[in-house]
C-alpha cells in the first residue's frame, strides 16, 4: 500500500515539469561541484607532495651548519589534504596549509586559499557540500510543499479518505515519494565520489566507511526536512501558504540560525584579536628567560643554580656548552608560554563549540554541518590537532639542535658545525589524524541532536496528520 502510494506520488512528481527542471539542475550542479572539487583536490595534493619533498631535501642538504642556526633556518609542516575534503571543504579555505617551524617562535598556519582569491570568493564556492546542505533541502521543499495541500485544494483528499486509507499510511507513501527522488540524486553522487576517491593516487586516508557515514548523516538530514515539509503541508489549506512557510523555515534554519549561533558564541566567548594575542605572548616572554641574552635576570638566576648544581665556578667549566643549554631552557620556556596561550585559545574554541552544540537543537542544519566537516576532517578540531602535532615536532626538532650543540661543542664556540648525520637524525614530519572513533566520540552530541531532530519531526508529523481534518 505504502509503495503504491509512493509510486503514484513519484509518477505525479515526474510528470510535472517542475520536478524535471529542478532535478536536472540539481544533478548538474552536484556533478559540476564534484568535478571542480576533484580537479582542485588533485592539484593541491600534487603541490603538497611536491612541496613536502622539496622541504625535506632542503633540510637534508643544508650542508654544515651550527645546529642552532639550523633550528633558526627551520622547516615546514604541511597539512595533509584529506580525500573527503572533496565533498566538504569545511574551514580549510581559511585555515592555511603549512606551518613554518623555527626556533623560539610558534607560527600560525599560512597560505589560506581564501588569500589568493578575489572578492568573488565571498559569494561562496560551488562545492558539493554547498549543494548537499543548502540546495537539496530546497529541492525537497519544492517538490513536497503541496503534498497535502494539493490533495486538499483539488478535492482528491476527500476521495482518498472515502476509500478507507489510513492517514499514516498515506503519509508514509508520500514520505517515500519524496525520499526516493532525493535518493536517486544522492546515490549517483555517492558512487561517483567513491570512484573519484578510489582512483586518486596516494589516497591514504580514504575509507569507504567514512564516505558512507557522511552520506548517512546527509540522508538523516534530508529525512528531517521531508518530515518538516510534510508536517507544514498537512497543517495548511493553501499550497502557497505552505510554500512560503517552508521557505521561511529553510531561511531560518539554513541561513539565519548559523549566523545567530556564531554571533552568540562570539559574544559569549570572544577570541582575542591577532594583535592582542601576540602582545600577551610578548609580555609573558619578556618576563621570562631569554635564551639569546645571558644578561637577562632569569638567565642569570639559571646560571647561578646550574653552577651550584655542578659545583663549578664558571660556565666554561660545565661539562656541556652553556649557550646550547641556555637556549634550550629558553626554548622550553617559550614553548610553555605558547602552550599556555594556545590553550586559552583552545578553551575559547571549546566554549564556542559548546554554544554551537546547544543551539544545534534549534536547527537541523547545525549538527549536520558540524558532523559533515568532522567526518571530512575539515573542521577546526582537525586543524587544531594538526597545529598541535606540528608544534610538538617543532619543540622536538629545536630541542635536538640545541641538545646537540650543548653536548658536542664548548662554551663560546659558535664555529661548531653539525652535518648530515644530525639532520637525518631528525625524522620527517609525519602526521596521523585522529581516528574516526575519536572523531565520532567528539561529535556524539551532534549525532544525538540530529537523531533527536529525526525522531521529533517524525512524531510531530504523526501528530499532525492523524489530527488532520478532511474538510
Amino acid at each position: 500500500m505504502i509503495f503504491k502510494i509512493a509510486r503514484k506520488e513519484l509518477t505525479e512528481i515526474v510528470r510535472e515539469g517542475r520536478f524535471r527542471i529542478t532535478a536536472i539542475t540539481l544533478f548538474a550542479l552536484l556533478l559540476a561541484a564534484l568535478f571542480v572539487s576533484k580537479s582542485y583536490y588533485t592539484s593541491v595534493n600534487a603541490q603538497h607532495s611536491e612541496a613536502k619533498k622539496n622541504v625535506r631535501s632542503e633540510w637534508m642538504e643544508q650542508g654544515q651548519k651550527n645546529p642552532h642556526s639550523a633550528a633558526h633556518y627551520g622547516t615546514y609542516a604541511f597539512k595533509p589534504k584529506y580525500p573527503l575534503s572533496l565533498i566538504d571543504n569545511g574551514v580549510d579555505k581559511y585555515t592555511g596549509v603549512s606551518i613554518y617551524l623555527e626556533a623560539h617562535k610558534r607560527n600560525e598556519a599560512q597560505y589560506a586559499a581564501a588569500q589568493d582569491q578575489t572578492a568573488l570568493s565571498r559569494f561562496g564556492d560551488l562545492t558539493p557540500d554547498f549543494v548537499l546542505i543548502f540546495i537539496v533541502p530546497l529541492f525537497i521543499i519544492l517538490i513536497g510543499f503541496n503534498a497535502f495541500t494539493r490533495e486538499r485544494e483539488s478535492g482528491t483528499l476527500r476521495l482518498l479518505k472515502s476509500q478507507g486509507v489510513s492517514t499514516w499510511k498515506l503519509t508514509m507513501g508520500k514520505w517515500l515519494g519524496l525520499f526516493l527522488p532525493v535518493l536517486f540524486i544522492a546515490i549517483p553522487v555517492y558512487v561517483l565520489a567513491a570512484l573519484f576517491l578510489a582512483n586518486i593516487k596516494d589516497y591514504g586516508q580514504f575509507s569507504l566507511w567514512a564516505l558512507t557515514l557522511l552520506f548517512g548523516v546527509y540522508l538523516i538530514y534530508y529525512a528531517v526536512f521531508i518530515n518538516i515539509t510534510l508536517f507544514v503541508s498537512s497543517l495548511f489549506k493553501k499550497s502557497n501558504v505552505a510554500f512560503v512557510t517552508l521557505l521561511g523555515i529553510w531561511m531560518v534554519s539554513c541561513l539565519a540560525m548559523p549566523k545567530i549561533s556564531t554571533a552568540i558564541a562570539d559574544k559569549l566567548y570572544p577570541y582575542p584579536t591577532q594583535v592582542e594575542f601576540e602582545e600577551q605572548i610578548a609580555v609573558d616572554k619578556k618576563k621570562g628567560l631569554d635564551g639569546h641574552n645571558p644578561w637577562n635576570t632569569e638567565a642569570k638566576k639559571l646560571e647561578e643554580e646550574t653552577l651550584k648544581k655542578y659545583g663549578v665556578d664558571s660556565v666554561q667549566q660545565l661539562p656541556f656548552n652553556w649557550d646550547g643549554f641556555l637556549m634550550q631552557e629558553g626554548e622550553k620556556h617559550t614553548a610553555d608560554i605558547y602552550f599556555k596561550h594556545y590553550q586559552l585559545l583552545k578553551d575559547t574554541y571549546v566554549n564556542q563549540t559548546n554554544v554551537y552544540r546547544s543551539t544545534a537543537a534549534l536547527s537541523p542544519f547545525l549538527p549536520t554541518r558540524f558532523l559533515s566537516m568532522a567526518i571530512c576532517r575539515t573542521d577546526y578540531t582537525s586543524h587544531w590537532d594538526f597545529a598541535n602535532a606540528a608544534e610538538n615536532y617543532r619543540i622536538e626538532l629545536v630541542g635536538k639542535m640545541n641538545g646537540d650543540m650543548a653536548a658536542n661543542s664548548k662554551y663560546g664556540d659558535w664555529d661548531y658545525l653539525a652535518d648530515d648525520k644530525l639532520w637525518s637524525s631528525v625524522p620527517d614530519f609525519q602526521y596521523e589524524p585522529a581516528s574516526y572513533t575519536t572523531v565520532i566520540r567528539q561529535n556524539t552530541s551532534n549525532l544525538i541532536t540530529l537523531l533527536a531532530w529525526l525522531l521529533l519531526s517524525f512524531a510531530a508529523l504523526y501528530g499532525a496528520v492523524t489530527k488532520m481534518k478532511t474538510i
Binding site: 503504491k4 509518477t11 483539488s154 476509500q163 486509507v165
Partner: protein, 232 residues
C-alpha cells in the same frame, strides 16, 4: 444498509442537521431534495465520517461510522458533485490507484472492463484526466464503485452541471447498480431524475427531514407541488 439514528450536527450553536432518522435498504436509491444549506451535504459528510455527529449515529452495514471509520469505508464509494482525480494520471491509472487504496487488486484488463462498463469510451482510458469532461470523470467514479464492489453509494449532486445525455447515462448506471443490490444515498436538485431514478425521496429544509415518501406513490406534478410547498 444505511441508517441514520437521530443523527444531528451542530456548528457553533447553529443546527445544521436536526435529529434525523431514515434507512436506505439494499437496492434503494434514496434521493435527498432541498435547497442549498438544507443539510443534505452535512448528512453525507456524516456518513463519510468527514465530520462527527453532535448526537445520534450514522450506521453503514450496521456499523457505526465513527467507531469503525476504516471498516465502514470498505463498503462505500463516494462521488461528489465534482469528482476530482489526479490530472496528470490517466483514467485507468486513477482507477487503479484509488482501488489500490481500498485494497482491490485486478489485472489491467479487469480495470478496463470496469471503465467500459461505466460507459467511458475506450480511447479515453489512457488519456490524462486533465483532458476529461466532468461527465467522463463521474464515470470513472462509477467504475471505482464497480471495482470496489461497493454496497453503498454516497452521491453529492453527482449530475449537476452534466448535459441531459450525460445525466441520463449516469442515472442508468445508478439503476444498474441498484439492481445489483447497491444502496444509494444521493443529494440532488433534480426533481425529474429523483422521480425517474430514485426509489425513495426525502425532502430537507433548514436541517429537518420534513418529508419521506416512495417515488411510486407520487407523479411528477404532485412531487413538484409538494416540494414547493415545503420550501415556502
Amino acid at each position: 444498509m444505511l441508517e441514520a439514528k437521530q443523527l444531528s450536527k451542530t456548528y457553533q450553536g447553529k443546527e445544521a442537521l436536526k435529529p434525523t432518522s431514515f434507512t436506505v435498504n439494499k437496492g434503494d436509491i434514496f434521493c435527498l431534495l432541498g435547497a442549498n444549506g438544507a443539510g443534505k451535504t452535512t448528512t453525507i459528510n456524516l456518513f463519510l465520517n468527514f465530520i462527527q455527529p453532535s448526537r445520534g449515529q450514522a450506521l453503514i452495514g450496521e456499523k457505526d461510522v465513527v467507531k469503525e471509520p476504516i471498516e465502514t469505508k470498505k463498503l462505500l464509494t463516494y462521488i461528489p458533485e465534482n469528482l476530482m482525480l489526479y490530472p496528470n494520471l490517466s483514467g485507468l491509472e486513477n482507477l487503479e490507484y484509488f482501488s489500490g487504496l481500498a485494497n482491490k487488486k485486478y489485472p489491467k484488463e479487469e480495470f478496463l472492463k470496469f471503465l467500459a462498463e461505466a460507459g467511458l469510451q475506450a480511447d479515453a482510458h489512457d488519456k490524462r484526466i486533465s483532458t476529461y469532461s466532468k461527465g467522463m470523470r463521474q464515470k470513472v467514479g462509477i467504475a471505482l464503485a464497480l471495482a470496489k464492489d461497493a454496497q453503498v453509494l454516497l452521491l453529492d449532486e453527482p449530475t449537476s452541471g452534466l448535459d441531459p445525455k450525460a445525466s441520463n447515462e449516469f442515472s442508468e448506471l445508478l439503476t444498474k447498480l441498484s439492481k445489483k443490490g447497491v444502496a444509494t444515498l444521493m443529494a440532488t436538485h433534480d426533481l425529474f431524475r429523483a422521480k425517474e431514478t430514485g426509489t425513495h425521496i426525502g425532502m430537507m429544509r433548514e436541517g429537518n427531514l420534513v418529508e419521506q415518501l416512495t417515488t411510486d406513490q407520487i407523479n411528477h406534478t404532485d412531487l413538484e407541488k409538494l416540494y414547493l410547498k415545503h420550501m415556502n
